[in-house]
């Protein structure tokens, strides 16, 4: 006679065999991944590329059955609002709460913007939910100095597949001083967390390099007129202007600077490495601007050729470098879950976080691994210059931004 327990075991075993025989059963466990992107407002173009990259990565993992028995599900939330016209930190915080309160979400990707990151991290930390940002570069978020503020629960939860402004600003200052040999610079920012941070770190390194800081001022991104401050800069006869910020103020600055100080060297961070900057300010105003990104330049790299083609084929739109770092972020999460499953460990927020922390994942940009704070081990900052290429669309980032070099590291 079968005991009741034996009968149950046989039944279970039969069910398991049946499950193994048919792929992609409803019995697959779902791994829910949150994504917080700035889909509404000035940065929407880059954001929809990131969303497409994530869809591509997780679809490929699901279709290729990368982790047998597990399927990824993406939950995309928008932190842009019409009122802000770009990302809105309050909306980002709401989204963070939404992800944390959904107990199926075990990891997340995003945000794109540092201002959103600062609003989200305290909530993510309390909820124990790790996130990987493909583009937010403000160093404070991961710095141990601000641990109490941005990771109150202790463990690092903010990982990046790009480096930080702790390198983007200073490396660009090195490029200004060593490569362009500028003697003086006027520094502007756009009042946002990202802009102020990158301008501060640029200023510090420029001073250390002996470049004269002619002045520092702050632009209101919603105001239209910067002619007064540019007239003031003109009267100072500076060699160069460095602008820390994103395209909302950058577009107007570029246009008006072209009228008032056309010959001065102008540079900015990844916030002005975008299609919005090109189409909003237009040629000839943007011609000659030096910009950087806090990542290696990948879209022209042979390593990324296959991805770029597949992306274009699927979405009819060329990816930018942060599309690739977003894809890499998805690969890191897929790998983290895969290693957990292979080791027979449960897939929870805590184990996924620990698994991300110890990642050594081959991605498009190379091997991704993180330091003890969640920052990318690789510190490459790439410099570009805008040069008009009339054979390509004038808002095509990959055609109009010419890759110059990796910025000198200090």
């Amino acid at each position: 006679m079968l005991t009741r327990r034996e009968a149950a075991q046989i039944l279970l075993a039969a069910a398991a065999t049946a499950a193994a025989g048919t792929p992609a059963l409803a019995a697959d466990k779902t791994v829910k991944i949150g994504a917080d992107l700035s889909l509404t407002g000035a940065d929407s173009q880059g954001a929809s590329r990131v969303r497409n990259a994530l869809i591509m990565a997780f679809d490929a993992a699901n279709e290729g059955n990368a982790i047998p028995g597990y399927k990824f599900e993406l939950m995309t939330l928008d932190d842009g609002t019409a009122t802000a016209g770009q990302y809105d930190p309050a909306q980002a915080a709401t989204n963070a709460r939404k992800m944390v309160s959904d107990k199926d979400v075990v990891a997340s990707i995003g945000p794109q913007m540092s201002g959103a990151g600062k609003a989200m991290t305290p909530i993510l930390s309390q909820g124990g939910l790790a996130t990987i940002t493909p583009s937010s570069t403000n160093p404070d978020i991961t710095s141990p100095k601000f641990a109490e503020q941005y990771r109150p629960a202790g463990k690092p939860i903010y990982f990046r597949t790009v480096t930080t402004d702790a390198y983007q600003g200073p490396n660009m200052a090195n490029f200004f001083a060593e490569t362009l040999k500028v003697k003086s610079v006027y520094i502007l920012d756009d009042s946002g967390a990202f802009g102020v941070g990158v301008a501060d770190s640029f200023q510090k390194q420029a001073e250390a390099k002996g470049v004269k800081i002619a002045g520092r001022d702050r632009l209101d991104p919603k105001a239209a007129d910067y002619t007064a401050i540019l007239t003031k800069i003109k009267s100072m006869n500076v060699d160069s202007i460095y602008y820390g910020g994103v395209s909302q103020a950058g577009v107007k600055l570029a246009k008006q600077a072209y009228d008032i100080v056309p010959t001065v060297i102008k540079g900015g961070p990844d916030g002005v490495t975008s299609a919005d900057f090109l189409s909003g300010a237009g040629f000839p105003a943007v011609e000659g601007w030096y910009t950087s990104i806090a990542a290696p330049h990948l879209v022209e790299d042979t390593k990324a050729a296959q991805f770029v083609e597949a992306f274009k084929g699927k979405f009819g739109d060329a990816p930018d470098d942060y599309t690739i770092t977003a894809y890499d972020a998805a690969l890191v999460i897929i790998d983290a879950v895969k290693r957990l499953v292979a080791a027979g460990k449960p897939v929870t927020r805590e184990t996924v976080r620990d698994s991300i922390q110890t990642a050594k994942v081959p991605t498009i940009q190379g091997i991704v691994s993180f330091d003890a704070n969640g920052d990318l081990a690789d510190r490459t900052v790439s410099v570009f210059q805008i040069k008009k290429d009339t054979t390509k669309p004038l808002n095509d980032v990959s055609a109009q931004y010419k890759y110059i070099t990796v910025a000198p590291q200090s």
Partner: protein
């Protein structure tokens, strides 16, 4: 650049800004003078106007910065652009009044003002959702001629903008002072009840105030585009708020006051960027506003019409 050159250049910068604020401030003042209503939808009528102007210029085949016009074609294109933009914006103002504000005419309290805020957000979101969030490149068909006065630079564009703004403001002033309906507007502003009893068609007067104010906002939107060579769904807020401040500074309800207030705010903005810091501009503008209101609660010029209370 010497200090004198700098002052001269910043005065030019400030006057250009001021001309735009003044055009916008007139719309606030016209409507307030008659209805005692602060019309916040005005912010975004200005913004919509700049998109209408963009559309008109694009219909002429102008896009980007490459096509430069001179002489008669320039005059013709600008004339058509101004007429179409002003007519469209003016009608938009009238439609807003007719659909959203007239039904609330006799409702006491802030309902009408809140409605204008709602309409403002509707316009804002409609443009955001239809044309997108990125800044749009605005064509600049004006020839780039620069005059050097001492060390300062005066662009032809700036002269033209001053000229058009002055012409529009002078036209409005004459209209309000001399024309029949202008007289009816002033009469309604003084005492709507009495004006009605004297046979003034108050509804028509109110429609006219909305039409004129919104048409000027549309002209302001076109001038904004020509001057800054871009437009975006977000331009209404800062410009609108400063223009509103200008109207209050000059004495809301007072037509010449709005013009002077606009120019003053423009100059304050330019000078505070030069001598203090751009970051402090709003603090300075609004501090001056508070000071003026503390000592002259009716604004610099006061209301022409005696207060109805």
């Amino acid at each position: 650049m010497t200090t004198f050159d700098l002052l001269l250049q910043q005065t030019i910068n400030g006057l250009s800004l001021g001309a735009m604020y003044a055009l916008l401030a007139l719309g606030f003042t016209l409507v307030y003078g008659i209805l005692e209503l602060i019309n916040f939808s005005h912010f975004n009528v200005f913004m919509v106007g700049s998109f209408v102007a963009l559309g008109v210029l694009q219909m002429f085949g102008l896009s980007g910065q490459d096509v430069i016009l001179t002489g008669l074609p320039l005059f013709g294109v600008l004339l058509v652009a101004f007429l179409v933009t002003m007519a469209f914006s003016g009608v938009l103002g009238v439609v807003i009044e007719r659909l959203c504000l007239r039904p609330l005419r006799n409702v006491k309290g802030p309902a009408a003002m809140i409605t204008t805020i709602g309409v403002s957000y509707i316009l804002f979101n409609v443009i955001l959702l239809t044309v997108g969030a990125d800044s749009k490149n605005f064509p600049n068909p004006l020839p780039s001629i620069r005059y050097h006065i001492e060390g300062a630079v005066l662009d032809f564009r700036v002269l033209l903008i001053w000229g058009i703004a002055l012409l529009l403001m002078a036209g409005l002033y004459m209209f309000v002072q001399r024309s029949r309906i202008g007289k009816a507007m002033r009469a309604t502003a003084q005492d709507a009840e009495a004006a009605r009893m004297m046979g003034v068609e108050v509804d028509k007067v109110i429609m006219m105030a909305f039409f004129l104010g919104s048409a000027l906002a549309g002209a302001g939107g076109l001038i904004f585009g020509l001057y800054y060579n871009f437009t975006s769904f977000i331009i209404g807020f800062t410009a609108g708020l400063r223009a509103f401040t200008a109207a209050v500074l000059g004495g809301i309800g007072n037509v010449p006051g709005a013009m002077v207030g606009g120019v003053l705010i423009g100059l304050i903005e330019a000078m505070s960027s030069q001598f203090i810091a751009t970051a402090w501009t709003d603090v300075i503008i609004f501090s001056i506003l508070v000071l003026v209101l503390v000592f002259k609660p009716a604004g610099l010029f006061g209301r022409i019409a005696p207060n109805k209370s």
